[in-house]
């Protein structure tokens, strides 16, 4: 399946970025083959609506699921509308996108059932 992981760099080996709307980039991974591509987050400079813009980007990449640390209300609404499953990799422990991918494959990550942080205007 096509999975997006929020990262703070430009490769699967970059550190995991726990903030969805404000992540530096999104790593699109094919969880079956392990092939990946990195895509800059267009919402990084957004004054408002970062969550919406980031969600549109992820939807545009054709992802079926996303892994991040927290989802604001607008990101949650947008990703839900797009039918994209939101997974949570909680905690602040330093880890790479590849580590998070391994956790995802091992079924260690739970799904977000609601927005997990306050959105900011």
């Amino acid at each position: 399946m096509k999975l997006v992981i929020s990262i703070a760099g430009d490769s699967l080996q970059s550190p995991f970025d726990a903030r969805f709307g404000r992540a530096a980039a999104f790593c699109l991974v094919d969880s079956d083959t392990g092939s990946w591509t990195a895509h800059a987050n267009p919402a990084l400079e957004a004054a408002g609506g970062a969550g919406v813009q980031a969600a549109q980007c992820v939807a545009g990449l054709g992802a079926q699921a996303v892994v991040s640390g927290a989802y604001g209300p607008k990101a949650y609404a947008s990703l839900s509308a797009a039918g994209i499953a939101m997974h949570l990799a909680p905690g602040n422990a330093p880890r790479t996108g590849a580590d998070v991918l391994a956790q995802f494959k091992a079924g260690e990550l739970s799904q977000a059932q609601a927005a997990t942080q306050d959105g900011r205007h």
Binding site: A43, G48, G49, V52, A55, Q56, K74, A77, S78, A81
Partner: protein
């Protein structure tokens, strides 16, 4: 003639100056309280508010039967307030500025607009016969600017010779919106380092909008000479100094205007109004 009374922060006596100026202008004035998040000029002017109008933002509403999810609306919206995600088109009212771009550009005519009420305008006359109006932003609504815009557009009962617009505190979008279209910016400050810092910010906005400005130093004598030096350096005229006086502070705390507490200031405010008029006229004569 449109005069905006502004200051970089709250509590500098901006409203005191604005209402005093309005009171000496009397019937020729319309005074607008543009601090729509915390309007307080009415406390000192005591108008009888007998006009009321709801205002808000025209929010887009998408007709799901007509929408083809082409994405044009999301592309054109610079605020990311409308998004197309798969087979759903979502509107985020908190982000929408009501600009109407999406409605105009939807190729299917699938978007209509409905008014999302975010505030009210209220207006009336004071005992002195001056017209007063204010905007009130509903609690929890994030956007002050559209209310200020509507307030400034609200038709007056009669065309006033002088408009006095009391700006919100700060130096962000609502202040810019209040200053737009003004002929003169009267900047109220205190002679302290904080006062100077905030003054510089509003001076920056006035300059950017090319609005001539002058300064009122309130609580003169409490601080240092830095505000004076800055004004001299920038060619900003100091048009009035109000010394720190206990009786004024006490009167304001009891909801009495400066001119009620200290009628001896009336000539000073008449002079201030005349000085502003001279400067504006000189500006137009150039």
């Amino acid at each position: 003639m449109r005069i905006v009374v502004a200051s970089g922060k709250g509590g500098t006596g901006k409203t005191t100056v604005a209402t005093s100026l309005a009171l000496v202008g009397g019937e020729s004035v319309r005074c607008l309280d543009c601090d729509v998040e915390a309007p307080n000029a009415a406390l000192f002017l005591h108008p009888v508010l007998d006009r009321r109008q709801e205002v808000g933002i025209p929010l887009p509403r998408v007709d799901t039967a007509r929408c083809t999810h082409c994405g044009k609306c999301a592309e054109v919206c610079q605020y990311h307030a409308i998004a197309v995600l798969g087979q759903t088109t979502l509107v985020f009212p908190e982000l929408c500025h009501g600009c109407g771009s999406c409605t105009r550009l939807c190729p299917e005519g699938a978007i209509s607009e409905h008014l999302h009420v975010t505030g009210v305008l209220e207006g009336g006359l004071t005992a002195d016969g001056l017209e007063f109006a204010r905007g009130l932003l509903q609690v929890g609504e994030p956007m002050a600017v559209p209310i200020i815009r509507e307030l400034k557009r609200w038709p007056p009962r009669r065309r006033p010779a002088i408009e006095i617009w009391d700006a919100p505190p700060g130096a962000s979008c609502p202040v810019v919106e209040t200053l737009r279209g003004a002929d003169f910016a009267l900047l109220v400050t205190e002679p302290t380092p904080f006062g100077l810092h905030d003054l510089k910010q509003v001076v920056g906005i006035a300059r950017e909008l090319k609005i001539p400005a002058g300064v009122v130093v309130n609580r003169d004598g409490i601080g240092d000479q830095a505000v004076d030096a800055y004004c001299a350096d920038q060619g900003l005229p100091i048009l009035l100094r109000i010394p720190m006086e206990r009786r004024i502070a006490e009167g304001l705390a009891r909801g009495r205007s400066l001119l009620e507490t200290a009628p001896d200031y009336r000539p000073a405010f008449q002079d201030l109004l005349a000085a502003i008029q001279d400067r504006v006229n000189a500006e137009y004569a150039r």
